[in-house]
Symmetry: C2
Subunit: 369 residues, 2 copies
């Protein structure tokens, strides 16, 4: 089966909607946040722990898996789900973003990209056809088109070339993609230029994808500019298809994205922050290694029901992080992912109960200050 998207309820005052995304590996309530499992593992988490956290969908990175352990190996293993022991849904990106941000770029032209591996310097070539071959071998439920992402700030001429190339590549991805169990999403580029974004979105929609992503945001531009791009880009996308804002996961940005009509989000932030001791709470972010927590025998967040908050104190967590104990990263990741799951659950509940804007304001005041 390919994916199916159902809108359960539309928000009266905003573009937000409550939905359900049916995939070959289960149904997902939207808006949803997808934790990132870069190298076929959400860092510090067992698949069992992710399930306990109520997580139904994760993202994994084609670029990393292509380089290590290799997509042929994962295909031999029976696909990425089986390889990593994950029963839920997987979305893979195309590798485009990583090639442009991590790899040592050698040459980009209309055909594709030559780059050197960030691991061993070896030379590689990826083009739209190859990106499809890789993702079909991985067997993710949702694959992403191969795109060219420009940094911020970039000149309009550069962004325009990349955006047009992204459309050409999206066409080639669609032609190269053939899988009954995998759905291919297109990606809108166009930087922070209104005309380019709108042109790009319209051309992409003509190609008719089962879902659309907005790429090239959260790459250094001010947040207000990102929200502006969403304001004029989302309305170009069909109402009936899922909309995915790539690489965005700060709680504030998620709230702003949801009210603008975004259904899916991903970001390394909650897991990376969790490993580093930067922990989300209902009254703001907290740096657990701070000396003031040395003798603090209260939980991280006394309103939180997660395993970490139910069983451990700030003093213990601080000890784990300052002693560089792995358990610190494990408990911090559990907490931050629980926080994200809970935030999304509360967003969906607010949507259902017609009080999304109130929830957003309340949340921004309480914990995003």
């Amino acid at each position: 089966m390919s994916i199916k998207f159902e809108i359960i309820k539309e928000c009266k005052n905003t573009n937000a909607r409550l939905g359900k995304l049916f995939t070959p590996h289960g149904a997902i309530e939207t808006p949803v946040f997808m934790p990132v499992g870069t190298q076929a593992t959400v860092k510090a988490m067992t698949p069992q722990e992710l399930e306990r956290l109520g997580i139904k969908i994760i993202l994994s990175n084609s670029y990393h898996l292509y380089l290590r352990p290799g997509y042929n190996l994962i295909a031999q293993a029976g696909g990425l789900h089986k390889f990593m022991g994950w029963r839920g849904t997987i979305l893979t990106d195309s590798g485009g973003f990583q090639i442009f941000s991590l790899g040592e770029l050698n040459k980009v032209d209309d055909d594709g990209v030559f780059f050197n591996s960030h691991i061993d310097g070896s030379r590689h070539f990826i083009n739209p056809e190859k990106a499809m071959e890789i993702q079909m071998a991985l067997g993710s439920d949702i694959a992403m088109a191969f795109d060219e992402c420009t940094p911020y700030p970039s000149g309009k001429y550069q962004v325009e070339i990349a955006a047009r190339r992204t459309i050409q590549w999206a066409k080639r991805c669609k032609e190269a993609h053939h899988s009954t169990n995998q759905s291919l999403f297109g990606i809108v580029q166009g930087g922070t230029f209104k005309d380019l974004r709108i042109e790009n979105a319209n051309k992409l929609v003509e190609l008719d994808f089962p879902g659309y992503a907005i790429g090239g945001l959260s790459v250094g531009e001010p947040k207000s500019l990102m929200y502006e791009v969403l304001d004029y880009t989302v309305p170009c996308l069909p109402i009936s298809k899922p909309r995915y804002l790539m690489g965005v996961g700060a709680p504030q940005s998620i709230l702003e994205g949801v009210v603008r009509g975004i259904d899916m989000f991903d970001c390394v932030l909650p897991t990376r922050n969790g490993r580093n001791g930067s922990l989300f709470t209902s009254s703001g972010k907290l740096t657990i290694t701070n000396a003031k927590y040395k003798n603090d025998f209260t939980p991280l967040d006394d309103k939180c029901q997660c395993y970490t908050c139910q069983n451990f104190t700030k003093a213990y967590l601080r000890h784990l992080y300052t002693s560089k104990e792995m358990l610190g990263s494990i408990l911090g990741t559990i907490h931050n992912l629980y926080f994200m799951s809970n935030l999304m659950k509360n967003i969906r509940l607010a949507l259902l109960e017609d009080r999304l804007l109130e929830f957003k304001e309340e949340s921004l005041t309480n914990f995003l200050s």
Copy 2:
């Protein structure tokens, strides 16, 4: 309550016995292996995971906790159990072994030991009274006397001085120790010298401790020599008290220790090996990073019922370790601790069914080759 030890069954052909150790935090079937939680955490494991593995008792290191986060902080937290969220039994060592092996030793005399911290070089003094103060503050169920451990090889004169000092210190520990919920074990020293070990054991037994440890072994001497020391030392210890062989945890040594009458073992080996990808299996030890496992889509050990073996392949585990993913260490530790728990369970079953020696021979042939 203090501990109580019950012998359920004695082996007919060896000194081994099946027992039950009652502690303020639960009952433990012996022979038992205790995982090490050096810094108030068994590395890479949540307390929940340890419970799932059937682990009832862990060891924690006074030396490390004294230096970081400090025993007063742990006392403020309500003791070590509460601080680290561990509901089972805790045994703490005295710090003696670590001071002599990790710390930069400054001066040892009959009063105590001056040493510099291995973390920040700060100067510290620990003597028997201080070691008791620390462990009473930690509130472990079983505390260990402060001893002087000599390296191998050491001259007889040096070992004799340390062994006699250990007896003097054991007396002072007993006088300084006052806790209704903590039991203090004595430690036999004497290196690999038969007369010193026997003299030391006899003097220690005169002091009447609720349990006895054999220290200063597995410090570089040949295994055969360690077994020889057990052969003549264990018979000096009272039958009715638990016997603990410190720092020993290789499966082969555990089997040899059990038949010689040892009830308790601890070692960092299963957890450290687990983190490094050296994994125990029913057909021998395996280094998972080996290239031959790259395409091996079978479990680590197809006879093993642990979470790791039930859900992941060697190829995936190898990928995690070679990519330096934390999940590799987590899954490797789960597997190795499960292996140890299972080994101890099988030892106890063999004891119960009067086939310990057969089990030992069989095990040595199968998985210790």
